[in-house]
């Protein structure tokens, strides 16, 4: 069930250039199940910044009652969040949306997880859950540069992990698609989250494959009420059918919506 709760900051660490790992503790963790779901965070109690910020769930630890988020401090809201310290409270609404389905794959099958930049975090909990089922996970992670890369060790522990950087400062110089090509990676199901051009390239290249992508959009309510975050359904000549990213997504089947 969706709830809101003042969660307590257990830790907040700078793990790459402007990238923070935030661990929160609270009852709300009990509600969190699916990788790819997100939470909607109120960074503080003042009137500005006004809106909540959607951040993906990166790791759930039911035993510790904690959830880990990884985010880039960029604008007003995330910069403010980056200033909060252990012990502070953060108002969290969630878990929101529909995450990555993991039931399609079984033991021994291969999942390819492709993440770009700040789209990488939700893939970590996904990888954990797939691995727990015995699925073989291969990660291809793209970053701008080595300074902005993170969680490589954590992903490597779960499965083969390839990296691409735009500037070549780590792994293959270029894009994630270059790596997949180069490494001739084969898989049963693709899971991806990252910038639109990356998602489009993947959809095109793997049009015949099964796969899921997670999208981003500016949001108001985060629960489906305001219609800020809609996208068109693919192949709909009326152009009137839509999905709400926050409540129907953010994860969709490849080819399901227009991107």
């Amino acid at each position: 069930m969706i709830r809101q709760e003042d969660m307590t900051i257990v830790s907040q660490k700078l793990i790459a250039s402007n990238i923070y790992e935030l661990t929160l503790k609270g009852d709300l963790v009990e509600e969190m199940e699916q990788p790819g779901q997100f939470v909607h965070i109120r960074v503080h109690q003042h009137v500005s910044p006004l809106l909540r910020r959607p951040i993906s769930i990166a790791a759930i630890r039911k035993d510790l009652q904690t959830v880990t988020l990884i985010y880039r401090a960029e604008g007003d809201g995330t910069s403010l969040l980056a200033k909060s310290r252990s012990g502070d409270k953060v108002n969290v609404m969630g878990p929101l949306g529909n995450g990555f389905p993991i039931d399609d794959l079984g033991k021994g099958q291969v999942a390819l997880l492709v993440g770009g930049g700040i789209g990488v975090p939700p893939l970590y909990e996904l990888s954990l859950q797939l691995r727990n089922k015995g699925v073989e996970v291969i990660h291809v992670l793209g970053f701008e540069s080595v300074e902005k890369s993170f969680y490589l060790d954590q992903f490597s522990e779960l499965g083969k992990t390839f990296v691409a950087t735009v500037d070549g400062s780590l792994g293959t110089k270029g894009f994630v698609t270059d790596v997949i090509e180069k490494e001739k990676i084969d898989f049963e199901c693709l899971y991806s989250c990252g910038p639109l051009p990356m998602l489009r390239a993947l959809e095109e290249r793997f049009a015949t494959k099964k796969g899921y992508i997670s999208l981003e959009q500016r949001m108001g309510c985060g629960i489906g009420a305001c219609l800020a975050c809609v996208c068109h359904v693919a192949n709909d000549p009326t152009m009137k059918k839509y999905q709400k990213l926050c409540s129907d997504g953010p994860v969709f089947r490849m080819g399901e919506v227009m991107i």
Partner: protein, 307 residues
């Protein structure tokens, strides 16, 4: 006596707090958080004759103490609302105020006529901020004659009282208010959003796909208070006030200015429980201020002047 119970044309409200149109969908999402029967009323999302997809995204942007939206009146259309939304809302003991929109007079009239027959629709809210195709996209709500004419035609067909929602993007809000009162409006709701815009520094382009959008949230509260203060002294119909309400003090401020009830828009996004919270806090606040009944203080800011 319930210090919050109020009577307005068509509306018998257990409290004067209701979600504002477009900020609450048709209630389904917020019903996950609380029982909608506790609300004074619900102003549902604008309904147009045909279903509409609305604008391209991004549709919202943040601003200092506010937000911009350009949803573009996305809605399932009159039939969709009559078939799927209003019947669903009947499970709750709460009057519905149906927000009616269109791009020509005929659209409004058709929607008003049909939607006002729904058993739980107790009043209409005429959204006159929409661009009028017949006048080259100039909003109905910015020309007194156009607004008067529209109100009259809707009044003629509506089976329930009609509240007209004023646009703040006008030189003379009192003139607009009087024009629609003249045309038979039973009440006013104000304010709709202020026209605004933001540009993305990185791209140099407007953030909203629609370029401009409607500014809502705390930033606009002083404008709303000023307009309600001005209008409430000049008309004899009640006003449902809205714009930036977040705290119980804001509600008191709206009543002092001249509102007889209030609606909560943007704040629902910030705190999904805002309406129940305010409904709980309002009687406490009234007790603190030694006010026996909320209706006592309507317009106190200007009524106290005459004394």
């Amino acid at each position: 006596m319930n210090p919050l119970q109020i009577e307005l044309p068509g509306l018998s409200l257990k409290n004067p707090i209701m979600p504002a149109s477009g900020c609450f969908g048709f209630g389904r999402e917020y019903s996950q958080f609380y029982d909608l029967s506790m609300l004074g009323a619900i102003m549902i999302k604008a309904t147009t004759y045909e279903s509409r997809f609305g604008n391209a995204t991004p549709r919202v942007a943040e601003t200092p103490a506010g937000m911009l939206n350009a949803i573009g009146l996305q809605n399932p259309g009159l039939q969709g609302v009559l078939t799927n939304e209003l019947p669903w809302l009947e499970q709750f003991d709460v009057p519905i105020i149906a927000n009616v929109a269109g791009s020509q007079v005929e659209d409004y009239v058709e929607v008003a006529k049909e939607i006002s027959k729904a058993p739980n629709v107790k009043a209409l809210e005429l959204n006159i901020s929409c661009p009028n195709v017949k006048t080259g996209g100039i909003a109905f709500g910015t020309i007194p004659e156009v607004a008067r004419d529209l109100t009259k035609k809707v009044k003629d067909v509506s089976e329930v009282p009609v509240y007209v929602k004023l646009s703040p993007n006008v030189t003379n809000i009192v003139e607009m208010a009087k024009a629609v009162e003249d045309a038979g409006a039973d009440g006013l709701t104000m304010i709709n959003t202020l026209l605004g815009m933001r540009i993305d520094i990185r791209t140099g382009r407007p953030i909203l796909a629609n370029r401009t959008g409607g500014l809502s949230g705390p930033a606009i509260k002083p404008v709303a208070i000023r307009m309600i203060y001005e209008v409430s002294q000049q008309v004899n119909i009640p006003i449902i006030g809205m714009g930036g309400i977040q705290h119980v003090d804001d509600i008191i401020e709206y009543f002092y200015a001249g509102a007889s009830a209030v609606a909560i828009g943007t704040a629902n996004f910030v705190d999904p429980l805002i309406c129940p919270t305010l409904i709980k806090e309002l009687p406490e606040k009234l007790a603190e201020l030694k006010i026996d009944h909320i209706s006592e203080i309507v317009g106190r800011s200007w009524k106290s002047e005459v004394i």
